[in-house]
């Protein structure tokens, strides 16, 4: 994977946005992604899915970040 500061920054921002959404879902503050189903459990599963996506975004961000040896 080619190193790229811009791509790394985009993935970090994406991860931050996903973490914020995950926290809001976990707290039950927002629910626009879920229309039906059981209340708390459903929000929690969405929060977990968003947190996993955030983690994956951070992994990709770290992967595309230029390393000191490449600078």
């Amino acid at each position: 994977m080619k190193s790229n500061w811009l791509a790394s920054a985009v993935f970090v921002l994406l991860a931050v946005a996903l973490v914020v959404l995950a926290v809001l879902y976990g707290m039950g503050s927002i629910q626009f992604l879920t229309f039906s189903g059981t209340k708390h459990a459903h929000h929690l599963t969405h929060a977990i899915a968003l947190a996993i996506l955030a983690l994956l975004s951070l992994v990709v961000a770290n992967m595309v970040r230029p390393k000191p040896s490449q600078a």
């Binding site: 996903l18 879920t34 229309f35 039906s36 968003l50 996506l53 992967m63 390393k67």
Partner: protein, 287 residues
Amino acid sequence: MTPLQALFLGLLQGSSELFPVSSLGHAIVVPSLLHWSYRPTAPTFLPFLVLLHLGTATALVVLYRAEWWTIVTAFVRAALRGRVESSPERLSMLLVVGTIPAGIVGLVLQKPLTALFGSPRAAATFLVVNGGVLFGAELLRRRDERRRALQGQPPIEREAAFADIGELDYKAAILIGLCQALALFPGISRSGATMAGGLVAGLRHEQAVRFALLLAAPVIAAAGLLEVPKLFAEPGPLGAELGAAAAAALAAYASGRFLVRYFRIGRLWPFAWYSVVLGAGSLAVLR
């Protein structure tokens, strides 16, 4: 729903999930064509769909079990090191960057789109669109073959001129991942959209189906797991449903194996025609 209907739907879902013909479109259109009395979008039907999806995801993981083990371990190695050093590590990262956009779009838009377009006529219309997407991908491939002067060559040699997954770049993986999101419209096939994306990105048919099936497993599994709480929220007998899930798993496994063999030299044309004929026929019949 009778046990026989459940079994039929299990087989239908398992086979149509991996074939590029839209399982959700079939789950909505076929019961209406058969005048079955339940609504596939009803909340009581959801736990059943969850089980079918989990069955299909299990089949996908079993189909590529050795490869998945390699991919997962390669991903962990590359993530800890912060650098990609081998082909399996690169493949794992391609799958991750392809899954992120599909996951986000799926989480945000699945419910609204299913609610908006969950009617049999809408699903039939999107089945026609699905056929159009498959036709379009094959026509673009045919144009590519003309440009490379491959027409008239044996199918195997024609296919060999195109790329395998290892040559895919990350932008293409993201775009193919976004193609998966088209499957949120009931009637558009997930595997069809990702295969079309793969072909447009220059993959061989066999590699496009392999990437589509690998990319589908985490999304289908996650979609199923997200809905697991509904299994416990909606009371009801589980015997027939579990049997249907097993049938879905077997059908998905068999259709996955068939597709991998078929696309060594096969094309998307039959699936495109099937989608158009089923969609247009359903539109004519469903009033």
